[in-house]
């Protein structure tokens, strides 16, 4: 009878083990669509056998553990690709916006530039007409507005990027805290010998998401916690402690710092990966670059058109007027009544532009304001010289504008002498307007000619010719340069498309690989279900057989 009782016990263990296994299968099936879920499996092991008269007889079966299937290599790969995906996905939207702003359609900045110079060309056919003169002014204003609009669109994109970054900070902080929390729980559960399957799944999922957001890297420690770091090495989670990301406003831009209790750590932009690095890359590299190129283009159009316009004469006989408000420039303090009267000191005029020295010889043939202007312009120095009309004194001044925005110009006149008048010193930096605004107020002030005669179109022709001059970097026209800027945007966006597509593909493959290894297959689960069902049925049959045998034993005595 003792043997039957033992058999009954063994059958009982089998029943409960099969039930437990079916339970695990049921859980797997229930989580078939749960993202990041790893298939679990009951680990069965026999009870230790007992010695009966020299024979070791098994005592049944038990579920020793429920394990999740896991592949650390694949998980690492997925995190890595998520980082790339996050980076490129984040860039897509601002780049699409930039593509819209730097359009290649019929209405782009290049069109406005063409139209502006076309208006000058139109003026050459009828230089005395106030209508054509006004069109030139209006086209100048529209060109200025086109630059302003581009700038304001760029500012909007910039502010959108800052807002997106800001909104993601809270999301990242919540996830960091949760990882730290899970670290504590996993450590506790697994210290007791159990496996914290669900917690680990959840933590893996969060690490993957953090990798997408900030490119976080993770290392599993011996105590089963993970240490999370930014790609640059700064810590985010250590054991059960999470650092908090904080926003730092720098002017109109956003940067970040990490805080642990009272300690603040500055987190430079190059520390980040994932979406953060994508957004920061668009904001700080791509947009800064484009912004500088736009500024450069606007500056050159302004200064070159101004230089030519200042050399021309309005219908009122006045010369030295700027068409656009002048940018920062360097002018003589002294003003003189006649722009082409000689008698100035002669000798060597020394110019230094951004440290580059040029000596301009002034002699009795060119010792007038206009003579000095032409000598400087022919000297090869990186400045544009003009004779400008000073509104306050009513006289004329020699004015120098660097060909590259912001470069410092120094004028040394100490080697000039012997004339009846001196040009004197130059203002260190005369203030200028940053924006491109038309300054010519009256149509009669538009300098279409080199004389006040209404049919004189020579200066208008020279200004119109600037449209085809290789002024930008010595090789490009203005609208050609816009093409280069738009092509840069296009290349960035095209590259983003390619990398994003690649990252998506790779991630699909990796997720499929992961699912292939550790995911839930309904077919597998159903087959397992049948297997455990059959096991359960067999155990039940075994128990009823033992029951019958016990009945037989009990009924031996009637």
């Amino acid at each position: 009878m003792g043997g039957l009782l033992n058999a009954l016990n063994a059958g009982k263990t089998s029943l409960s083990v099969n039930q437990k296994s079916i339970e695990v299968v049921g859980n797997n099936v229930a989580n078939v669509n749960t993202p990041g879920y790893s298939r679990q499996e009951a680990v069965l092991s026999p009870y230790p056998a007992l010695n009966f008269g020299g024979f070791f007889i098994g005592q049944g079966v038990k579920v020793s553990d429920v394990q999740r299937e896991h592949n650390a290599f694949l998980q690492g790969q997925i995190n890595d690709k998520n980082q790339t995906l996050g980076q490129e996905e984040a860039k897509t939207e601002p780049l699409e916006e930039l593509e819209r702003v730097f359009s290649v359609g019929d209405e782009s900045l290049a069109t406005e530039i063409d139209r502006f110079f076309d208006a000058w060309q139109q003026l050459t056919a009828n230089p005395g007409s106030p209508v054509e003169r006004d069109i030139v002014r209006q086209r100048g204003e529209l060109l200025g507005q086109a630059f302003d609009n581009l700038q304001s669109e760029m500012n909007t994109i910039r502010s959108n990027i800052n807002n997106t970054l800001s909104s993601k900070v809270d999301q990242v902080n919540l996830k960091l805290e949760e990882v730290a929390d899970l670290n504590k729980r996993i450590k506790l559960v697994e210290a007791g010998g159990n496996t914290a399957n669900t917690f680990r799944d959840r933590r893996d999922r969060l690490l993957s998401e953090l990798s997408k957001h900030v490119g976080a890297k993770s290392i599993e420690e011996k105590d089963n916690t993970v240490t999370v770091q930014l790609p640059g090495g700064m810590p985010l989670v250590q054991g059960g402690n999470a650092l908090t990301m904080e926003r730092v406003q720098e002017g109109s831009d956003l940067s970040f710092q990490l805080r642990l209790n009272n300690t603040e750590l500055e987190a430079p932009n190059n520390q980040f990966g994932g979406e953060f690095s994508g957004l920061l890359d668009v904001r700080d590299r791509i947009m800064d670059g484009i912004g500088k190129e736009l500024d450069n283009m606007q500056y050159k159009i302004r200064t070159y058109v101004n230089q030519q316009h200042e050399a021309g004469v309005g219908l009122d006989g006045e010369t030295g007027r700027s068409f656009f408000a002048k940018a920062e420039h360097y002018s003589s303090y002294n003003s003189f009544s006649n722009p082409d009267a000689g008698g100035f000191d002669t000798g060597d005029l020394k110019l230094s532009v951004a440290g580059q020295e040029t000596t301009v010889a002034i002699d009795s043939n060119n010792n007038s304001l206009q003579g000095m202007r032409d000598a400087i312009n022919n000297s090869g120095a990186e400045v544009l010289a003009s004779v400008i009309k000073d509104q306050d004194s009513g006289g004329y001044k020699l004015s120098l504008t660097p060909t590259t925005q912001g470069e410092e110009v120094k004028v040394n006149t100490s080697n000039l002498s012997g004339g009846s008048k001196s040009i004197g010193s130059f203002c260190p930096k005369c203030e200028g307007e940053e924006q491109m605004q038309v300054q010519v107020a009256d149509t009669a002030h538009v300098a279409a000619g080199n004389s006040s005669a209404p049919g004189d179109n020579t200066n208008a022709q020279d200004i119109a010719a600037l449209a085809n001059a290789p002024i930008m970097q010595g090789t490009d026209t203005f609208s050609g340069y816009y093409g280069k800027v738009a092509a840069d945007v296009g290349l960035e966006a095209g590259n983003n498309d390619l990398v994003l597509e690649g990252a998506k593909d790779a991630l699909t493959q990796l997720n499929n690989l992961r699912d292939g290894k550790v995911g839930v297959s309904l077919e597998e689960e159903m087959i397992d279900l049948i297997q455990f069902q059959k096991g359960f049925e067999a155990s039940s049959k075994f128990l009823s057989t033992v029951d019958e045998m016990m009945d037989s034993v009990i009924n031996l005595k009637r």
């Binding site: 078939v32 076309d118 060309q121 004189d456 738009a486 960035e492 309904l522």
Partner: protein
Amino acid sequence: MKSTMGTSFRAMNAEIARIQRGLEDLQKQAASGKKLNDPSDNPAAIRPVLTARGQIRASDRYIETMDRAMDEMKSMDTKMAHVENLMVQSKEQATYAINGSLGEDGLANLADQVSLFRDELRDSANFQVEGKHIFAGYKENTEPFVEDSSQFNGISAQGDIHNTTLEISPGERPPVDVNGRELFLGQTKSDKTDAEGNAILEQTGTDMFATLRKVELAMRGHEEKVVDETGTAIADAAYKDGNPETGIPRLVDGSNSPVTNASGDQIELTHNGEPVHLKQAVNEHGEALTLKDVKEHLTAYEFGSGEIDVDNVTDLSKPAYMHKDGSFAVVDKQGDPILMDGSGSPVEADYDGNGTNDSYVNLRDLQNTGTNGKPLKQEYIPKLTTQLDSLEDAADQERRLRGLLGNHHVRVENAQTTREETKVDLEEMLSRYEDADLVEVLTDLKQQQTALEAALNVTSKVASLSILNFM
């Protein structure tokens, strides 16, 4: 490796999304007709596209400008044809006057006719198109040839000598008009410049107005006489002793007696054998020049001291005068033009008749002129028969310039044709870069649609296959 529901659906989802993105791209191309919609569609094409668009726009402008220029050239040509007619008609009248046995009244009638031709010539020279004087150079809003009785040709020129140029292709700026000063007055830019570097004008051709005036005066009986700017024969004038036989004007005193030098020789008011005719020097902008403006070209003398530095002239703001041969009149210490002899020395005169020379001969402030301050403007009126050549010269001047205008017209016309052809080429190039090949797009669209249908079909088939159906 096993296949799970997740892997199947994820793969199918990715494929469907990819096909749909491709489809969306193709739909955009089909709807817009363009394959270059965003910079990323083809960054390498952006620059050629923008350049081509700019050039097409510039071509439109060039074509419009050239149309306009050709219209103006046509109007100018019509007016110039009329000028030629006037010259031919004047020649006919002159021939009639020579050949016919007309009495004084008949000749006066012909002279009136020629005078009217001169008025008509002035009207033509002041012709306006769209409110602009086409023969005024750059000063298109100024009447270029104003009637002026103080000049022999009866004209005060107000325009400048500039030719309007228009850019017909980058860097190519041909003149698209004929300048009035050159056409009607025979003036051109000399190689001399004023203090500001502007070219000084000289007379190298025929002054049409003066030519007609001479014909008219010859018909009025002044043949082979020297006349002043009013058309009065000097022989008849009170202040100059003109010799009708020789046509040589002489200096006279207040009582109309010839003034002599210390040697008792009469003083002929000629320059290089021609009666002295002074005109104020003018630069290319039509601005009248002073002595200061032309200082470097001047010679000055002080009586008793000989040649002096021009800077020592007391009043350099006085007008600078030129002789008909283009040389500047030499001035005295006061800045007035003086008479020079053939050897280049100032002519001296003994005004008070005391046997010693006491002054240079001032050509601007002649004694007894009654018109103090005016420079001498004398003209010799040749015989009418020899004036036929002058009329022919005037007509030739017109024909030469008209021929030049015609050549410029042809040049502009050719440039326009070339520009139109270039525009077509540019449009073709632009189209190649930015226009979608609709046949290709629609074929691709069909292909993608089929692929999408297949993907959807497979997805639904896979979804309907499940182990659960067999349990």
